[in-house]
């Protein structure tokens, strides 16, 4: 029995010697999440972009390995589809974009809710006990009035509107009225002269 136990111990120890450590650095960014739902209106079609990374900082804490990530839509198929494919090859230090099309039925009622859950997963190859990563990107989709649906940001600015100078406006208005009165008076005088002729 002792010999048998020793054999297990030695074998496991030997496996550990040949196993290589691998520090994983897959990451995903989502603009929407459980406490920040996607607001949409009935009939709206929208594209959502998620950033996916493999150690963009290129720090020494990451292993300089390329990653293959798979993306699957686990919930929300009735309104969403991943349009950029299910497999992403990420070289060390690089990033990619997952594109998701969302299409809301035109007959969707106000306050209707949907749930979208997307899994971004990667598992490293190798022997021993390998532990991959699975990020669950999950967010609610709420149907609301079109007026409550915020526009997507584009790097332009919109004028807040000039503050109106009401005093100047009143002065101009009074001035115009005075001119009109004077013109009218002159016209009357001239027309009166014409009658005498």
């Amino acid at each position: 029995m002792v010999n048998r136990n020793l054999k297990i111990g030695l074998l496991v120890f030997a496996v550990l010697l040949v196993n290589t450590s691998f520090v994983f650095a897959l990451a995903v960014n989502s603009p929407y999440y459980n406490s920040n739902p996607l607001k949409v209106y009935a009939g709206q079609e929208k594209e959502i972009v998620f950033d996916i990374y493999n150690c963009p900082s290129m720090s020494d804490s990451c292993d300089k390995e390329d990653i293959v990530a798979t993306v699957t839509l686990e919930e929300g198929n009735e309104i969403a589809e991943i349009t950029s494919g299910s497999e992403y090859n990420l070289d060390f230090g690089s990033s990619g974009k997952i594109r998701m099309g969302v299409s809301i039925p035109s007959d969707a009622a106000m306050n209707d809710k949907y749930l979208i859950r997307m899994a971004v997963q990667s598992i490293p190859e190798g022997a021993g006990v390998r532990m991959g990563i699975k990020y669950n990107v999950e967010f609610p989709v709420v149907v609301t009035d079109a007026a409550n649906v915020p526009d997507d940001y584009v790097p332009n600015t919109v004028s807040k509107g000039e503050k109106t100078n009401y005093m100047l406006l009143i002065v101009i208005l009074v001035f115009v009225i005075l001119i009109l009165i004077i013109v009218l008076a002159i016209y009357k005088i001239i027309s009166g002269k014409d009658k005498f002729k």
Binding site: T20, A25, A27, G132, K163
Partner: protein, 293 residues
């Protein structure tokens, strides 16, 4: 109206005007007397006229900073040259978070207006959610410059899930029938802004380890316990379940390097009496383990 009335009205008005002029010009301090006039035009402060009208989307970058570019436009009645470019700034703020302040450069000059491009550097651990953007500008007036600020714009910071960890669980030297064998911790570094367990839990999906030489033999996932290694995992850890998610109750904070580390501990509650061979959980074997957040 007869012409005579009009002439009468005009004569009366003229008489009033002429009489009034002479009356105001007479006396010791006549109103219309020539005098020196000095007009001092006060400095007109600049005014911010344009800011982003819709929330600025911010996608953070794991483990490093992200530069966010935002624009605003200012008009100065004294002319665009009166603006102090060095004072232009944009500040992102959120309750409980460190303000992120960025300087600005001129993008465009149009008449009395200038449009500035401001770059604000966000950290990977800045909280997700709505941040207020405050734009600020000063002019060059002395001794007190005119200024304006605007905090009506917002930035929406996304949720960044980014953890670093060693993917290989170190089983160490294990002996059949041993109980409560602690394994080496898996150190997890948070390079994002997702906080465990505030924003969600960290689960482990384990699978039975399969013998490499004799696949019929296995080490069940249920003999493993997992938990936060700040406590005794062999006592407090959660028993793993084959092919199912188990909440490990691990805490992973967000923050700058050194303050963003959690630790996942494993323990084998009872080493089964199995034959001496390699036992694996791999992609090739179809039974890899998963950390899920």
């Amino acid at each position: 109206m007869k012409r005579g009335y009009w002439i009468l009205i005009i004569v009366i008005v003229l008489a009033i005007i002429i009489g009034g002029y002479f009356w105001l010009s007479s006396g010791e301090e006549p109103l219309f007397a020539p005098s020196d006039v000095k007009v001092r035009i006060r400095n007109a402060p600049p005014r911010i006229t344009d800011v982003p009208a819709v929330p600025v989307a911010v996608s953070l970058t794991p483990g490093t900073t992200t530069d966010v570019l935002v624009q605003f436009t200012v008009r100065d009645p004294n002319g665009a040259d009166d603006l102090n470019d060095a004072a232009a700034s944009a500040t992102f703020s959120k309750l409980g978070e460190v303000d992120r302040v960025g300087g600005c450069v001129i993008n465009l000059v149009a008449g009395k207006s200038k449009t500035y491009d401001c770059t604000v550097s966000m950290q990977y651990y800045d909280a997700a959610g709505a941040w207020t953007i405050t734009f600020y500008i000063e002019d060059l007036a002395t001794p007190t410059p005119g200024s304006d600020s605007d905090n009506s714009a917002t930035a929406n910071v996304g949720q960044l899930k980014a953890i670093l960890y060693n993917t290989n669980i170190n089983l160490g030297i294990i002996t059949p029938s041993d109980v409560n064998v602690p394994l080496a911790d898996v150190v997890i570094t948070n390079e994002g802004n997702f906080v465990v367990p505030t924003d969600g839990t960290l689960n482990v999906l384990a699978r039975n380890l399969v013998g490499v030489t004799t696949p019929a033999e296995s080490i069940l996932a249920s003999v493993f316990l997992a938990g936060d290694s700040s406590g005794d995992v062999c006592t407090l850890g959660s028993a793993l379940i084959d092919n199912s998610n188990v909440n490990t109750n691990v805490a992973i904070p967000r923050g700058a390097a050194g303050s963003n580390v959690g630790s996942l501990g494993f323990c084998i509650s009872l080493v089964p009496e199995v034959s001496a061979q390699d036992y694996e959980a791999t992609v090739a074997g179809g039974n890899p383990w998963l950390i899920e957040i």
